[in-house]
């Protein structure tokens, strides 16, 4: 009975501790808790994973508070501030602490055809915390126009009177604010997609591993077929088959569905493998002998034992989803404007003009890289921590 606490303890060990109080309920709780405790202990050891966890949490906070963090309407276009380079924030001036940016004026150079922007050292645009800006619904609860930062006098939209921390895109839209919104969409695409493939993977993998026989063979074939078809044709076919009158939001979900439809196979294999090996584990056999019902075995005994693996797998699947979203956008299949996602922003930067003259548009790649790195390290850490033999 003690095998669950210390499976390494020799069977014939005569010096076992005092038996625990009767009742399997307590025993299980302890068993599971111990496993989680162990996991968190091991996880904390992985410093990079800890740092990554913080980064991931930060990014999800950005996603949640995207509108609050953005200071400019991400859809507001303005030709006369097209492709403006990032502005420098000046924190101190002669009056002491006075964060501001310098006003910028631009015109197109007739020879180079570039828009050239000049700053006006005399025209300071002060920055304020909790400034007024465009109106939005805060967490979907109430309407407000407060933003974390903004210009003091709510002057708003002209190039002379506004701030562009990361510069602007071709249409003169503020890149920083667009990036905030893109973070929201791209990170949630990942989550929804992973949740869906998780569901499919656990369900089909579980059924396959549990029942075996014809069902197993069928599902294995399904996995093999799905994996054998190159992803791009599948994406294209499925994307094109989407109902045409769907709104951007619905298409967004459809895209995640498409990505997850392809992503579930890996997980299904993992789950199936776990089920197969667990079926023969001592404690499952013991539970079976003890007359526990099958469902009870699955949920009380088997699932907890690989839940940590699922979580790790999920964390590792997320960056793949995010990368897929950008790739889909590149192919013109994923999220398309006016939706703002990382893929859409990256696609905007995918031209020679950006490389040559407006490299700040490439800044979009930075959060993508950071998040993907963070998720990978986080997943790595979780997996290392989840390994029961660690």
């Amino acid at each position: 009975m003690d095998t669950m606490i210390s499976p390494d303890a020799p069977v014939a060990d005569p010096i076992a501790g005092l038996p625990e109080p009767e009742g399997s309920e307590t025993e299980e709780r302890i068993a599971v808790a111990t496993q989680w405790q162990l996991m968190s202990m091991r996880f904390r050891k992985h410093r990079l994973a800890m740092a990554s966890l913080i980064i991931v949490i930060l990014f999800y906070l950005i996603a949640i508070f995207a509108n609050f963090l953005a200071y400019a309407d991400p859809f507001k276009t303005e030709a006369y501030r097209s492709l403006m380079p990032p502005q420098k924030v000046i924190l101190w001036d002669d009056d002491g602490f006075n964060p501001h940016v310098l006003a910028v004026e631009g015109a197109r150079d007739p020879v180079s055809f570039k828009r050239i922007y000049k700053t006006d050292p005399d025209h300071k645009i002060p920055l304020r915390l909790f400034a007024h800006g465009y109106e939005y619904k805060f967490l979907g609860l109430f309407r407000t126009d407060r933003h974390l930062i903004g210009v003091a006098d709510d002057a708003g939209v002209t190039a002379e009177e506004s701030i562009f921390l990361m510069g602007t895109d071709l249409l003169g839209r503020d890149l920083f604010s667009r990036l905030m919104r893109a973070t929201r969409i791209s990170l949630s695409v990942g989550l929804v997609g992973v949740a869906l493939s998780m569901f499919l993977g656990v369900l089909l993998g579980g059924i396959s591993g549990l029942y075996g026989g014809v069902i197993d063979i069928t599902i294995q074939r399904l996995i093999e077929i799905t994996r054998s078809i190159p992803t791009i044709p599948l994406w294209m076919g499925l994307a094109a088959a989407m109902p045409r009158d769907w709104s951007v939001v619905k298409i967004y979900f459809a895209i995640t569905l498409i990505i997850s439809l392809i992503g579930w196979t890996d997980l299904a294999r993992v789950v199936r493998g776990r089920f197969l090996s667990l079926r023969n584990e001592d404690f499952v056999l013991a539970a079976e002998l003890a007359g526990a019902g099958q469902l009870r075995i699955i949920f009380r005994h088997m699932v907890p034992s690989f839940l940590s693996h699922i979580i790790a797998a999920m964390t590792l699947a997320l960056p793949a989803m995010i990368i897929s979203e950008t790739a889909l956008s590149f192919l013109g299949l994923g999220l398309r404007p006016p939706a703002i996602s990382w893929g859409v922003l990256l696609q905007d930067a995918q031209n020679i003009q950006t490389m040559a003259n407006t490299p700040w548009l490439l800044l979009v790649a930075v959060p993508v890289i950071i998040v993907i790195l963070a998720f990978n390290f986080l997943g790595d850490g979780l997996r290392d921590a989840a390994d029961p033999y660690g």
């Binding site: 006369y80 097209s82 020879v111 071709l170 003169g172 013109g332 398309r336 031209n351 003009q353 003259n357």
Partner: protein, 684 residues
């Protein structure tokens, strides 16, 4: 002999001068004299036989073959009445390879346009005057029912076989009239009645119609199914274009070949084709089949479905320069495959192309300008004549949502949306200030332009008036976000703008317009579709607003599809009406809008009208189109479509500015056969 009156020539000269002045002033305004827009210029034809050269010379590459006995001497290869071209700057030197980009087997037009002189008639470099090309002249009968074309005596196919009236008769009888091979076209008909081709003598061919067809000469010169020329009209499964190499193609057609259909089918399947028809279409395709004889300056030596499409000089080409040198000067043109526009831009700014005007995007201009010196090329910006590179076509036959349809067909609604667009913003952002904002009417230089006031009509930014107009037509209610709501259920009125990626970033342009319209309380959502999907949707009458160029509409009768719904494959303004129009009412939806019906009437009547009458009708059509704002024009007369031209500094006889228009077959109008390399190293 030629149907060009002195009066008309004078008119054209005046118009051209006016036009050049207008354009240069417009461009000065637009970009303060960037220096990239030059004077419209090009080679001219020497039509007076007295000035023709009497001695001929040829390329060293051919001279070798003559010496080896593989080719007859140059005098025998050139017709007795060749086309004599006065090169733009200087008599050229033989040799060299023109390096260009192409984007795949679908980009045959890339080469077709270089071979564009295989048309019977063509336009001069201004794109306003019809001049001879493969045919030396033409004549229209008094009653207008017969158009006669005069061929060049001694002219030969690229394999040396004579090019005669028999090739026209063969085309008409065996390739055009055979329903197994193709279907009849409107270009060969008058009021639905098909015309026919008759041989007068070996070098004279008549096109005879059951009624007056005064437009036919224009059709022969235009980029039309009948006049487009062999390169474009007999490639990719089509067999139009007025003539065909009878001596070569006969072997592929039952009856004429002396073989039965079964025998030919057997041969075809053995060769990997579906049946004899597919094999015939392959055989006629100069892009795919290096064996097919043609009459253009170049013939294919490595087909288009490879990494590099290579075309080489036609040893029997029938044009010479004023010094008697057989054209073309260049040995060959090599098109290298580029899978995406970035590669083309990158290679272009690295100086890897000698002249490239296709597939170069305007928004990349600064990068192109920057690298001019280091990569030894010069940028030219050529302005188009069409009124708008981005027309928002409101589908008048839309019927999926009655409420939406109600507004799409409301003239004031369209007008309000049109004046709700800040075109200067669009011009600055997407045309880098180099376009002309305004309505969709063709350039003021065009005879069809209805008058300068139509450039601004309903096309000047006035958001207050727009708001007022929308209120007045009953769209007064708004939702909490400030958007106007539908009158039937009170939900937000949502318009969908359908855009497909192309030469211009239509999606982004639409995003800017949607943002501007949001100030009017109009919610419009730009939706990007993959091109096939977008076009299919449009053809199926599923789009509300479609954005596309109106390129080609400057010659309204030759290329009406982007202005009037007459061809269902691209009738964004009313696909169901177009279907109704082409099927004579058998299919599609009949329009009830009197203005649209009037447009159809004016358009149909034009075939039987003389030049002046046609101009009058065209102007009236444009007036209605602008007043009704079926298609909202934005910015046009710009270099956006094939007008960003990168030219190697060693390349000569290159016009400063060239005509970019559908009918000019850019760069065909500047006769690429006269281009040559000044740098001897490049001529090897």
């Amino acid at each position: 002999m030629w149907h060009v009156t002195l009066k008309r020539v004078r008119l054209l000269i005046v118009l051209t001068i006016l036009f050049v002045m207008l354009i240069s002033s417009a461009s000065l305004n637009a970009q303060g004299g960037g220096g990239y827009i030059g004077e419209l210029e090009g080679p001219t034809l020497v039509l007076d036989p007295a000035q023709w050269p009497t001695e001929f010379s040829e390329a060293p590459m051919l001279a070798e073959k003559v010496a080896a006995g593989d080719l007859p001497p140059v005098v025998e290869r050139i017709p007795s009445e060749p086309l004599v071209i006065q090169p733009l700057d200087s008599i050229g030197e033989y040799g060299g390879t023109w390096r260009r980009a192409f984007v795949g087997p679908g980009d045959g037009e890339n080469g077709n346009r270089i071979n564009a002189s295989d048309k019977l008639l063509f336009w001069d470099y201004t794109g306003t005057e019809i001049v001879p090309s493969a045919a030396k002249g033409w004549e229209v009968s008094e009653d207008g029912t017969t158009t006669t074309v005069f061929l060049r005596e001694g002219m030969k196919w690229s394999d040396g076989a004579p090019f005669t009236a028999d090739d026209f008769v063969f085309w008409f009888e065996w390739m055009y009239s055979d329903t197994r091979i193709t279907t009849p076209i409107a270009d060969m008909a008058v009021q639905g009645q098909q015309g026919r081709v008759e041989k007068v003598d070996d070098y004279t061919v008549s096109f005879v119609f059951p009624g007056p067809n005064l437009l036919f000469v224009d059709l022969l010169a235009g980029d039309t199914l009948i006049g487009g020329g062999q390169s474009v009209r007999q490639s990719r499964g089509t067999s139009y274009g007025a003539y065909a190499p009878a001596h070569y193609l006969k072997q592929f057609i039952p009856e004429v070949s002396g073989k039965t259909e079964e025998e030919l089918n057997k041969e075809a399947t053995d060769a990997g084709f579906e049946d004899w028809v597919t094999r015939l279409h392959f055989a006629t395709d100069w892009q795919l089949n290096p064996d097919v004889p043609n009459i253009g300056p170049f013939r294919t030596v490595q087909p288009i479905n490879t990494e590099a499409w290579v075309v080489e000089r036609n040893p029997y080409y029938w044009a010479v320069d004023t010094a008697g040198n057989q054209l073309p000067y260049l040995d060959r043109v090599v098109f290298t495959l580029a899978e995406n526009p970035q590669i083309i831009t990158l290679r272009a700014i690295a100086g890897e192309y000698d002249q490239q005007e296709r597939h170069i995007l305007m928004t990349e201009l600064p990068a192109i300008i920057e690298n001019q010196e280091t990569s030894n090329y010069t940028l030219h910006l050529d302005l188009a004549f069409n009124g708008s590179d981005a027309v928002y076509q409101f589908n008048q036959s839309y019927d999926a949502d009655p409420e939406i349809a109600k507004w799409l067909t409301n003239a004031d609604f369209r007008r309000a949306l049109s004046i709700g667009i800040d075109r200067d913003q669009l011009n600055e952002t997407f045309w880098l200030g180099a376009g002309v904002p305004g309505s969709a009417v063709p350039a003021e230089s065009s005879p069809y332009n209805p008058g300068p006031e139509y450039r601004d009509m309903w096309s000047t930014y006035d958001p207050d008036l727009a708001n007022q107009m929308l209120d007045d037509i009953g769209l007064t209610e708004r939702d909490s976000d400030g958007y106007r709501v539908r009158t039937d259920n009170g939900e937000r009125l949502r318009l969908e703008i359908q855009a497909v990626a192309s030469f211009l970033p239509y999606v982004q342009i639409s995003e800017m317009i949607a943002d501007q319209w949001s100030d009017l309380g109009i919610y419009a959502e730009p939706r990007e579709y993959e091109r096939t999907l977008g076009m299919t949707r449009a053809a199926n009458n599923e789009t509300q607003i479609f954005v596309w160029t109106n390129g080609g509409t400057e010659l309204l009768y030759l290329f009406p599809r982007h202005a009037i719904p007459v061809d269902p494959t691209e009738a964004f303004m009313g696909p169901a009406f177009a279907k109704w129009f082409v099927t004579n009412g058998a299919d599609g939806i009949e329009p009830t809008d009197p203005n649209l019906l009037r447009i159809y009437e004016l358009f149909t009547a034009a075939t039987g009208l003389d030049e002046a009458g046609r101009i009058q009708n065209a102007q009236e059509i444009w007036k209605i189109l602008v007043d009704q704002q079926y298609g909202i024009g934005t910015v046009g007369q710009s270099p956006a479509f094939m007008g960003v031209r990168i030219v190697n500094n060693d390349f000569a006889n290159i016009p400063d500015r060239t005509c970019i228009a559908q009918h000019c077959r850019t760069p065909g109008g500047s006769h690429p056969e006269t281009f040559y390399f000044t740098n001897p190293d490049r001529r090897d």
